[in-house]
């Protein structure tokens, strides 16, 4: 991953994908999509492939509330519903689509999961910043979809703590709003819960932090020391049967 972020040849997409396009066939991870909404009909197609072969996998499709305004969202929802495809459309509703608040741009922003009613689809709303709540819901919905009840739409309510990208200082948000959501940050919240429940201790977390930091440092070093892709890699993967064209004159 780190090498991919740095555009190195040892990256998971050989440096060709970057931060937005990491894939893993071992993990059935179909990657990231730069075009908002592009992944949705694709997810429906993947679900049909599973269903056709009698498999029991579920396609899990992530997107933000901004994507709900794309035409493809509606097309994919309808396709999944009429054919009862095993796909979960999972919306991370963080109240902003790039620089626009969903309150201003999405008429159903406050009860987003109800949009699935238009497609006769099972729909759920959950506190996206509550690790246990999300986990429990996913276990339930996963089991239902796997059993063949048809697709489901989950809206996980959360917040985008930073800007849309490193280029976005997100000055369009009131400070009080940001502070409110900072206090609901799921990770410290979960840590506190685990400590209170006696499941883990402060020392456990310090140990985890240290070992993860070490892992990240090593990954960064690996990325730094890795070679750049060769110039010929520019033409690799354009077509299946022409692996490399070489550099044009």
């Amino acid at each position: 991953m780190m090498a991919e972020l740095m555009g190195k040849a040892t990256g998971c997409s050989k440096g060709k994908g970057g931060s937005m396009h990491m894939f893993s066939s071992e993990l059935n991870f179909m990657g990231g999509y730069a075009i908002v909404g592009g992944q949705m009909p694709i997810a429906a197609g993947i679900a049909l492939a599973v269903q056709y072969r009698g498999g029991d996998q579920v396609a899990l499709c992530f997107f933000g509330d901004g994507a709900v305004n794309e035409g493809e969202f509606h097309e994919a929802m309808n396709l999944a519903a009429i054919w009862k495809l095993p796909v979960i459309f999972f919306c991370e509703h963080n109240l902003y689509g790039m620089g626009a608040s969903s309150q201003e741009t999405l008429v159903m922003w406050d009860s987003l999961h109800e949009m699935a009613a238009a497609y006769g689809m099972a729909r759920y709303e959950v506190d996206g910043n509550d690790v246990i709540a999300v986990r429990s819901l996913m276990q339930k919905v996963n089991a239902e979809v796997r059993a063949g009840t048809g697709p489901a739409f989950i809206v996980a309510k959360t917040y985008r703590l930073r800007g849309h990208s490193v280029a976005d200082p997100a000055n369009y948000r009131p400070d009080a709003e940001v502070e409110y959501w900072m206090s609901r940050d799921p990770i410290p919240r979960f840590r506190d819960w685990l400590t209170e429940e006696g499941i883990a201790t402060v020392e456990d977390f310090e140990e985890i932090d240290a070992s993860v930091e070490e892992e990240v440092v090593q990954a960064a070093e690996f990325g730094e020391l890795s070679p750049w892709p060769a110039p010929e890699a520019l033409y690799e993967g354009v077509y299946a049967d022409r692996p490399t064209e070489g550099i044009p004159a």
Binding site: C12, S13, K14, K16, G17, H21, F23, S24, S25, M30, G31, Y33, A34, I35, G38, M40, P41, I42, A43, A44, G45, I46, A47, L48, A49, V50, Y52, G71, E72, E75, A76, N78, L79, I82, E236, G237, V238, Y239, A240, D241, R242
Partner: protein, 306 residues
């Protein structure tokens, strides 16, 4: 006209789920053959998803004029899937079929030639057959191709009489261009339904001017067979290109630019492009719009008389 798109899957091989369009008798297995809603973008994206799982999927779009809502899926997903994932995943088993071109009464939205738009997208292939036998062979080749292929069928020919299979070799898997007649005076280049027109123009040129034409059917628009065309024009020194799509930035522009770069010293005359006029495809003006055999013949005469 409200017509549902037909998205048919039929299984005819191990681990193959093939989607093909079907107009007459039903095929067994409604899980393999089914209609879709009117959702072009959704249909193409859906086909991409199927294909990434190794299923051979063929999506039909009722008219090529309607494929543009899916343009984003074509350009930003299908064409880049293999490239951006370094071949972790790809949608090679996808084929998208659509009828294209003038039909005599189609007007603005049932007559368009769209190959020029899709020829501009590295990562997909664009294939256009000139007749029924070619369609069969090229479609099978397109299905088997491990890249996403956009297959545009001349709709005018659906209404023409059937074509006799002259050779079983029409089931070739080769998508390269094909020389239909050897000639020495001028290379005439086209694809799809235009080949019928060009054939007539070449016959006129032979009988009225004594001009020997080398007619080439490009068959695959992207990637196109430069070697065959360049070799031919270096021999004849003259080129006439023709397509129904509008002149400006039509695919003929790519052909002309490449040929002039590669055959400059051999050219005896400027390259002629005989194309649709730069207007939306008209309704009542269709006979004036399309590059008919007379216009093509005139272009041949122009390069020969230059």
């Amino acid at each position: 006209m409200y017509v549902p798109h037909t998205f048919i899957e039929c299984k005819y091989g191990p681990e193959l789920v093939v989607t093909c369009t079907f107009r007459s008798s039903p095929v067994a297995g409604s899980n393999r053959v089914f209609n879709t809603p009117l959702s072009e973008q959704g249909i193409v994206g859906f086909g991409i998803g199927l294909a990434t799982q190794g299923s051979t999927a063929i999506a039909e779009i009722q008219f090529a004029d309607y494929i543009h809502p899916a343009f984003d899926q074509v350009v930003n997903e299908a064409a880049k899937y293999r490239y951006r994932s370094a071949s972790h995943y790809h949608c090679g088993p996808l084929t998208v079929r659509a009828p294209y071109g003038a039909v005599g009464h189609g007007g603005h939205y049932h007559s368009q030639s769209v190959e020029g738009f899709y020829a501009h997208v590295p990562g997909i292939k664009v294939v256009i057959p000139r007749g029924p036998s070619q369609a069969k062979g090229l479609l099978l080749a397109s299905i088997r191709d491990q890249n996403p292929v956009f297959f545009f069928e001349p709709k005018w020919l659906y209404q023409a009489a059937g074509e006799r299979h002259t050779q079983l070799a029409s089931l070739c898997t080769c998508m390269q261009s094909l020389s239909l007649s050897a000639g020495s005076d001028v290379t005439v280049l086209g694809y799809g339904s235009q080949i019928q027109i060009l054939r007539q123009a070449c016959e006129m040129a032979q009988s009225e001017l004594g001009v020997s034409c080398e007619l080439i059917d490009l068959r695959t628009i992207l990637p196109w067979d430069e070697d065959t065309v360049i070799q031919s024009v270096c021999k004849t020194g003259r080129l006439v290109v023709s397509h129904e799509a509008p002149l400006t930035a039509g695919f003929g522009a790519e052909l002309a630019a490449t040929v002039q770069a590669e055959c400059f010293n051999h050219l005896e005359a400027p390259i002629q492009r005989v194309c649709g006029w730069d207007t939306p495809f008209p309704l009542i003006f269709e006979p004036f719009y399309i590059p008919n055999k007379v216009r093509c013949f005139d272009a041949i005469r122009t390069v020969v008389d230059y």
